[in-house]
């Protein structure tokens, strides 16, 4: 009991709490200590929660904010499912600090102002201890000011353009340099590619990614960019582009075309006679999720750069894939972002347990120590850098006719996240 009260004293002296809340905390603590001698070793709610989050002695409330409807539902469904799976598994193990996780699900409906509004609800009304959510950069940018003002904690699963590091966000996907530099170096070394043709959808992520790719090819590889093209989101008309590619004859086509346009783009390549056996093509935006639409016959022989593929051969991944299919059906496919979504609740659990508190400031401080790691991640071992991004391996995989991926190359070491790369801006 002595140790207990010491702990409490430090909590109260360091945390910025009012007199009234301090008295409350003391009251609750003493009631717990007197009334429940059996659980004296577990931490009281007042100790793990000094900032009025929605936490009881048996439960901790978190939020989930994705698009369950609208155009992004295609992509975000996987992340929603994976986060739920992780939470179920954590609850089955007894929860976090003896508390089961309760999820409040909100639908951002593929609409960025709706994301902002729902994040306000989750933080201000529901007092969520953490939120797992967002997919597009646009939705993340919409909720960011709210998370910073209300001091919330967001776990963001998508590979994205970098150039951001917020105290209130943990980024579980790859930032741009991790994904791009490794794949460009692979194309240069393994495939002897010197000339590159860059193609993307016309919005922030492809444009930033291609800017980094161009700098890397021109300044570091001494290669040449022979074309750079952007098409509106949802575009299905790629006829002229195919001819431009044929005029330039690039060694490598480097692609960041996303969403529905993907299908039209790979069908157009096939129809123009540009196929995997004749042309090297490397994309940053085709995961298993997109493959179901694109079709194996159209992507056969092309390459995708991601940190995770469903076919990864390790024990963690086998367990994860089996659990995912048991819950969501045997035809379920798992893409890169789905796996990154699965990491979120586990990383949060590790940080909370290290901080011995649910308080956002303490969880963030624990996350910034550089010692939060996951040995059970499906993609293999990952650790959280002090800059809120993950150290992870990059991988290149080839599309197979049956719409699966075969990993052909893997970075030997974990790649350090570098959201503000020097020389690339």
């Amino acid at each position: 009991m002595k140790h207990h009260s010491d702990d409490k004293a430090t909590n109260l002296s360091t945390a910025d709490v009012g007199r009234r809340r301090m008295l409350q905390a003391l009251g609750v603590a003493s009631v717990a200590a007197v009334g429940l001698p059996g659980v004296a070793s577990a931490q009281t709610t007042a100790q793990v929660n000094t900032t009025n989050l929605a936490i009881t002695d048996t439960e901790v409330t978190v939020g989930q904010l994705h698009s369950a409807t609208g155009t992004m539902a295609i992509s975000e469904t996987g992340a929603i499912q994976a986060e739920q799976l992780a939470i179920d598994q954590i609850n089955a193990m007894g929860g976090i600090l003896g508390r089961k996780i309760k999820v409040i699900k909100e639908d951002g409906a593929s609409d960025w102002p709706t994301f902002a509004e729902k994040s306000k609800k989750l933080l201000i009304n529901d007092h969520c201890a953490a939120v797992f959510g967002c997919w597009t950069s646009a939705s993340r940018k919409a909720v960011l000011p709210i998370f910073e003002k209300e001091n919330g904690l967001l776990y963001y699963p998508t590979f994205y353009e970098g150039l951001e590091q917020s105290k209130n966000v943990i980024y579980t996907g790859q930032e741009a340099t991790q994904q791009i530099l490794y794949s460009l170096d692979w194309a240069q070394k393994e495939k002897k590619a010197k000339t590159f043709f860059l193609i993307g959808s016309d919005y922030i992520w492809p444009r930033t990614s291609m800017k980094i790719a161009r700098k890397h090819v021109e300044n570091f590889q001494k290669g040449k960019i022979v074309g750079e093209e952007y098409y509106p989101l949802g575009s299905t008309n790629f006829g002229s582009l195919m001819n431009k590619i044929k005029v330039q004859k690039p060694d490598c086509i480097f692609v960041a075309v996303v969403g529905g346009s993907n299908v039209a783009f790979y069908k157009a390549l096939k129809a123009a006679g540009i196929t995997g056996d004749k042309q090297l093509l490397l994309t940053l935006a085709v995961t298993e999720d997109e493959m179901t639409g694109v079709g194996g016959e159209n992507f056969q022989g092309f390459y995708s750069s991601m940190k995770y593929f469903q076919s990864l051969d390790n024990d963690n991944n086998k367990k994860f894939v089996a659990a995912f299919k048991a819950k969501y059906g045997k035809d379920a496919v798992i893409g890169d972002v789905t796996q990154a979504g699965y990491l979120g609740p586990w990383l949060w659990k590790a940080a909370v347990e290290k901080a011995k508190s649910f308080d956002v400031n303490k969880v963030v401080a624990a996350s910034e120590t550089g010692t939060i790691e996951l040995k059970t991640a499906p993609e293999g071992y990952v650790k959280l850098d002090t800059n809120h991004h993950l150290w992870s391996k990059s991988r290149i995989a080839m599309g197979m006719p049956d719409a699966t991926f075969k990993v052909v190359s893997e970075s030997p070491e974990l790649i350090k996240p570098n959201p503000f790369p020097k020389g690339y801006q």
Binding site: T69, G70, T71, A73, I74, T77, D202, E228, E229, Y230, Y231, P232, G234, S235, T236, N237, G239, S240, L241, M242, N243, K244, K246, V247, G260, S261, N262, V263, A264, K267, A268, K270, A271, A272, G273, T292, G293, V294, G295, E297
Partner: protein, 304 residues
Amino acid sequence: MTFSEMLNIGLMQGFAGLSLFAVLLLMGLGLAIIFGQMGVINMAHGEFMTIGAYTIYFGSTLASTYAPHLVAYYFPFAIIAAFIFTFLVGWLVEWALIRHLYKRPLDTLLATWGISLALQQIFRTFIGPKEVSPTLPDWLLGSWAPTEGLDIPINGMFVLGLTTFVSCGVLLALHKSRWGLRVRATVSNRMMANAIGIDTKKTDRLTFAIGCGIAGVAGAAFTTIGSTGPTSGSLYIVDAFLVVTFGGAASLLGTVVSAFGIAQTQSIAEFFLTGSMAKVITLSLIVLILMMRPQGLFASKIRR
């Protein structure tokens, strides 16, 4: 670059323009009949196309599940099914909703937009939010390469052929058949057509249903180019209205010419500039021309 290579690129680029023309025309045709001939602003046009596309998807799923040896042949039949199916849905929608709104054209806009949202949600709930694409028969994939370095997309040729067939069919029907005669009579003077014994209500219903049926065929053809999702229709609707309005609402020939003009401008600009820039140039040109000719390229000479 040698001369023969340049020739090949030129030929392929010409074909890219033609196949975009075919896509735009097929999109606009059904709308031109409904909007041009009947004055109904059908905001659900895109969703009728989506219904056609889903019909192909079901055809492909059925074929590959129950009769894998028929996968090579199902496509033409699925297109006919797509026409019949969207025709029937169009018939139903006209009977249930549109016929009550002929005297309130702006309300048809609202009503059909409502239908469009409802259909999108039905697709999402009953078919699923993920985009799907059917397994296409092998003869529709890849390219036709008569010489080295010349690749003509087979799906492009297919869409071009289908568009030619449908447009000729519509033009012939409009000018040679009894239905066409009744439609033209109704368009030029509804009251008089009624007076001489034409059942204008039945004509309206048939016209609307045929327009929807053609939208279904268009949607079916586009499965060879792109994917199908609950909101695919909203991608098509803008282009479709653009083609019809630019061509002059009441003229089918105008629709053809406008589709050709837009497609060639877009495709040539795309070749020399970037994709997004080409769109900017095409749309600015359309805006400019519409400012000078608000009635579109081909104005109808009839009084309403």
